[in-house]
Every structure is written in C-alpha cells, then in structure tokens.
C-alpha cells in the first residue's frame, strides 16, 4: 500500500514536470505576443493562409534582425494588401522577449538573443524602414 502511494506521487510529479516542460520558455514574450500579435497571426502562430503569414513555422528567409525590425516598425510595402501596424509602444526588452518566444519556443531554434543584440539590430533597421 505504501509503495503504491509513493508510486502515485512519482507519477503525478512526472506528469507535472512534463507539462512544465511543454510550457513556453519565454512566458513574458508569449504574454506580449498573445496581446499584440495573436489577433492577426493567431495564438499558435499558424496565421491565416497568405493573408497573415504563419510564424510557426516562420518563413526561413526572415532573419532575426528583420524579425526585430518588423515587430517595431511593422510591414508597409507597396505590395502589401494588408499592412502590419508598427508597435511604437513596445520597449526593446519586450521585442527581445517576443523574438525569443518566436524563435526558441515556436520554431525550436537553439539560438537566443540578448537585449544588447536586439538593441543593435534595431539601430540598424531605423533607416531601412523609413524608406519602405
């Protein structure tokens, strides 16, 4: 009987561990993503056909620095039928968390980005986006 109880406790522990493993590593990034991106790109990142591109999996031609720039400045190409709005209210730390959430949690990449790296990426895209 005692051994049974111990077994049960281990089983519950194993299940709990499994669930916590499945949770997003970047919870803060997920929270912000769910608030500002999920309406268009869907909560699971699946997007809507060719209207709202899928972020899970994300288009492989999009570099991390492009991703950071898109989050801050949106997409407003001549060819865009629907424009993605910019997010001037997001701080660099929010953007870092979203980038990591998309890259690591959604797309299982091993690479993570620091605040300084994202900061530098955002410096570089300032001019590029103005001319879009």
């Amino acid at each position: 009987m005692k051994a049974n109880k111990v077994n049960t406790i281990f089983l519950i522990l194993a299940i709990l561990t499994y669930f916590s493993c499945n949770e997003a590593k970047y919870m803060q990034g997920k929270r912000t993503y769910d608030m500002v991106c999920a309406t268009c790109h869907m909560q699971n990142g699946s997007g809507v056909k060719n209207l709202y591109p899928s972020l899970k999996p994300i288009n492989t031609s999009i570099t991390s620095s492009e991703l950071a720039c898109i989050i801050r400045y949106g997409v407003n190409k001549e060819s865009s039928l629907i424009k993605m709005p910019p997010n001037p209210a997001l701080e660099t730390v929010d953007i870092t968390n979203i980038v990591n959430y998309i890259v690591v949690d959604m797309n299982r990449s091993k690479e993570e980005f620091t605040l300084d790296q994202i900061e530098a990426m955002l410096e570089n895209c300032k001019e590029a986006t103005v001319e879009q």
Binding site: H41, V48, L51
Partner: protein
C-alpha cells in the same frame, strides 16, 4: 438496489435517444409579425451589392442556398483575422456542399473595392463563386448589417477606425436568420457547425 440504478440509466439513455432522433428545428430569429393570419418571420432585406468580380449580387442570387455570413474589413487590426480564421474553418468543412455559400461584407467600402476584395479572396485561396465578398454603398451596407443583427459604427478613437461585432450568421434558403455564433470563440463556432448540419438535414427531409 442494483436494478434500480440500471433502470435509471435506461431511462436516461432513452431520453437522450429520443432527443437526438427528433431535434427541434432551429428557430427563425428576429421580430415576427402577423399579417392576414400568417406569421411573417424576419428576413434579410433587399440588397444590391458588388462581389469581388464587380458583379452585382442581389438577394435572389442567394435564394435556394443556405449561407454563412459575416462583416469585416481588410485593415481591421482587432477581431477580424480571428473571425476570418473561423470562417475559413467553416468554408473548408462545407467546401464540397453545393447548398452552402459564404458571404462576407466589408464595413469599409471606400477602401475595400472589389479588386481589393478579389486580392484578399485570392490570398485565402477560395472558390470565388462559393464565397462572395461584397462591397457597395456605405449607407446601404450599414442598413443591411442590422438585418443580420450586427452592430457596427465608425469610431476614429479605435484602431482601424470601425468598431463592430464579430458574429458569424447562418441564413436559410428563404433569407431567415437561423443561428449565429461569436466568431472569436472556436467552441461557439463548433456549435454553429452543428446548427448548419441540422439546417441541411431539415432541407434533406423535405
């Protein structure tokens, strides 16, 4: 004691069995009126709009079909993409059923011209004769939305400039509204699917 429980289970099962065998028909929603002793049910009013191919569409083009309808606009940053994803789910389920059509109305006809809607529909990868995207005179569209029990108004304070409700509406072959669901809620949309199936059955058995 045991047999009592068995009987109880039997009674419950029979009850459930009866209910599924003969579901109540879906209600006809909206105000009814009585004229010369006949009950008149609410119907979608006369409309004349343009589809994504710039071809005029009127009520009679939809009679004989049941259709699933919503109101949206291209530059809607809030609920529209979520509702559209649910519409797409419904479309994919009934794509092969010739009795079912889909009708999306823009609330922003100034910007959402037939050609913009065509491009939108192309990006959704749908059959243009099965899923109509309608635009037209602004006041006309805002009148029609009332017949579908949709609330919408222009509001420069909100992102996108228009606030509106995101229901998906089910209309029968005669233009009566038979069911609706909150288009942002996948579970309610599942229920709407059951209502669509039931409405289709109603017509099959006639």
């Amino acid at each position: 004691m045991k047999s009592l429980i068995l009987y109880a289970i039997l009674v419950i099962l029979t009850y459930i069995g009866c209910n599924t065998a003969d579901p109540k028909p879906l209600p006809k929603l909206g105000q009814t009126s009585i004229e010369n002793g006949d009950t008149l049910y609410h119907t979608v009013g006369q409309f004349t709009l343009l589809n994504q191919d710039s071809i005029e569409v009127v009520n009679s083009d939809l009679s004989g079909y049941i259709y699933v309808s919503d109101f949206f606009f291209l530059n809607c940053p809030t609920i529209c993409p979520i509702v559209m994803k649910q519409m797409l789910k419904l479309y994919q389920k009934y794509e092969g059923n010739p009795t079912v059509k889909f009708v999306s109305h823009t609330l922003d006809p100034k910007r959402d011209t037939p050609s913009a809607l065509k491009q939108y529909a192309n990006n959704l990868d749908i059959n243009h004769s099965k899923w109509l995207f309608l635009t037209g005179d602004r006041d006309h569209i805002y009148d029609i939305k009332d017949d579908y029990f949709i609330a919408a108004m222009e509001d420069s304070e909100v992102p996108g400039g228009i606030t509106h409700s995101g229901q998906i509406i089910l209309v029968d072959k005669k233009g009566h509204v038979r069911s609706f669901a909150e288009g942002t809620d996948p579970i309610k949309v599942e229920h709407l699917m059951e209502d669509i199936d039931q409405l289709l059955k109603e017509y099959e058995s006639k």
